[in-house]
Symmetry: C4
């Protein structure tokens, strides 16, 4: 039986825990909200991905609580095995069984359609407010802010047809993020998320109305940076809107 975990702080399972604590402090994953998944892009099998479980306090996750899957989508190991079926967290009831995150099919979509190295899902209030302020819109647009330059310029590789990073966005570029409608069950977002990913080949994130945001990147650090930059922009956009300043400069 293969060993999917090590004690290294750089192991994807360790990094998920580290980043969840950081995201918790940002009010992005409080109340068990949100989730994160990292692909072992530098490991022996780069198709192995680690996914945080469902309904757990994100800031108290332990590495061995992760689900392990292999792309395009086979669950290899769950935290219910290898721990004698006992929960690892003090906050779980005695008869608790870990469940895979409802985000799983959404994370897999980002991995499979965009060759992502990590996916982040938050309940950021800036993301939710952006979808509420523009409740009649299906996309969010913003231009002429320096922070946009932290985002990737994406384009289809003419040989493979794959969407790849070809540089960085420019100051005067317009960042356009699709907004999809929320559904009662998170897994039911899969079709519209995939549609949005197809329809917006320049986007590295999708907003979910009244819910939050999905962000991905080539590796965990790029996903983290894109998520930070987008949240900065959404926060600024709400302030601009409240001060009557247009988000897209003509």
């Amino acid at each position: 039986m293969p060993q999917y975990f090590t004690d290294s702080p750089q192991h994807p399972a360790s990094l998920i825990c580290e980043l969840c604590r950081l995201f918790y402090d940002n009010n992005w994953v409080t109340g068990t909200g949100g989730g994160i998944s990292i692909r072992d892009v530098d490991g022996p099998n780069p198709d192995i991905v680690y996914i945080a479980p469902s309904g757990i306090q994100k800031e108290r996750l332990k590495p061995r609580e992760m689900f392990v899957a292999e792309l395009p989508g086979k669950i290899l190991q769950t935290p219910n095995e290898g721990n004698d079926g006992k929960p690892l967290s003090a906050d779980l009831a005695k008869d608790f069984k870990y469940k895979p995150s409802a985000c799983t099919p959404l994370f897999l979509s980002c991995y499979n359609m965009r060759d992502a190295g990590a996916c982040i899902h938050t309940h950021s209030q800036n993301a939710v407010m952006a979808t509420l302020i523009f409740e009649d819109k299906v996309e969010f647009s913003m231009s002429h802010i320096e922070q946009i330059k932290a985002l990737p310029q994406l384009a289809a590789n003419p040989k493979t047809g794959k969407i790849e990073k070809v540089g960085s966005m420019q100051f005067y570029d317009t960042m356009v993020l699709p907004i999809i409608e929320n559904t009662p069950h998170e897994e039911d977002l899969t079709d519209t998320l995939q549609e949005a990913i197809r329809d917006y080949p320049n986007a590295t994130a999708v907003l979910v109305r009244r819910h939050g945001i999905y962000v991905w990147g080539e590796n965990v650090w790029k996903a983290k940076v894109y998520n930070e930059a987008i949240d900065y922009l959404l926060e600024l956009a709400i302030k601009m809107h409240q001060n009557g300043i247009p988000l897209v400069k003509k």
Copy 2:
């Protein structure tokens, strides 16, 4: 004489201290405001509850400063005993005697009426603002936000008549929290809090006008998660209100 304390960081008295530091950083219990109580649900006597004392800086509490009570409401031990009557905190006057929290009868109401495992009381500004913005309303309602799914779906057990968790609230459900009027003395809130708990069997929290919120859950971690999720929703609600967005979607 029974020993009510251990040095374990998982002991209810230790967890009260840990969570109070966290709540302090959230501006929920500054200025000695708020309080928390945890029931020893996994201990030898699950009717033992620990309650933070009155008027103490919440972020500087020490485990042995807790009052110990047995449900339905007998004080078993106070921090004035066992410490030779000397205060444990540097911030207390030399002749200080610990007093039980004025929240005590309110916490006991949650334990006895809802079989709670922990109760949290904060002076969260989001809670206070929600009661001020809707000063003419006796309940707070909000729907169609993903974070609502972190809250429990409650229902009466047909055999016992007890209110129990039967699942999670849905995205399209309306979270309704009763708002009770504040009283000069906190203990005088007991009757109206109990009335609200009876009248709102689906609620796991009660707002107190111009004062704060009481939240409870099946155990300390559930109470923490519910409190976080509700505060997130109240914070979002205030922003929505200021942007003219209705809190309940039609």
Copy 3:
């Protein structure tokens, strides 16, 4: 020559450093703003007070950088002595001489007129905004908020005439804080501060227009709690004002 310093973390000079770090994180004393002074109320000479120096980064203070004074107002020792005239902080120029805080006469006024045990001065934006929103008013008033109960009820002792704490404010009481006008030189605030302290015997704090706040208490922990509670109330008041909610309930 008496020893005014020990290495105890409970020594007034150590507590000044600890609290300044906390206040810095609250945005109350950034940019070298604000100050704090603690009286050695439990020490051998309760007339000894420690005062943070002028113009130093508050979050990087070291205990031996304090000025030592004896009430009613004699400087006993400065950090320029005993350290061979060398600055203790890395942020100071090589030829730096520590200067007493310009707050010194103001702190001394609180000690001498109110028998305070500690004085806190911050540049809290909530305090500044409260004085700007009510720029035509000479006092700030607020009532019917639970957090008011964290503040002391003060009254003149009929025997001594001294203002003393006789209990806590009530929920329905109106907290009234005088607002004095700022002056180009901080020490020139002394007369109006003393006048305000005389004219408002029920107040444990004075707001300074376009500047900040002075808060004091019976000991360092009470001063800290009063400062936190007042800042909480000022923050809430600004939100209430922006939502058109009166600060004093009729």
Copy 4:
């Protein structure tokens, strides 16, 4: 070959890392935004400056990742050398080569034109909002706030013509910061930044529209204090503006 690095926490390269972590927590340099440079004013060669590299997560910088330059502008060493061309950070792709910050010519301008000891560049939202609220203005002005006193009073030395600190600004002084227009490439800001530095001899900072701010000071601690004080003032200014309070008192 000279050794430009030591393990001292007071070494400029160590201080850059320490301050970047602090700035990250303030939301000033998230998403790899912003930058900082420190001159070794107390070292053997005070013309040596250390500059954080481009496009790296600022809160995860390591001292040996700095570029070393000698004034007026010669790069002496890059982090690609001495580390066998391998990146030091986990967040960098395997074939990554460190690039000098695009801020480099701007930092050098502050060093050469103002004899600065350190330069800070942030994407502070307060700075960006200030330039957006006053989008039709080429300078930002504010007066009669106590925090202004944390800023330096600058004047030309009659002997050398150099701009030097001659004291502190006064409460009733008007802080005027020039606002320059952003350019697609950060290095293209150099000319207008230099023009602004020449045209505003009393300013220790320049705002960049829709981008952020550049702040400098006599040494790293002064630059830090000026940056904090200015950000405090910009934050307050936005609140004042939203409450209809003029920023310059007549």
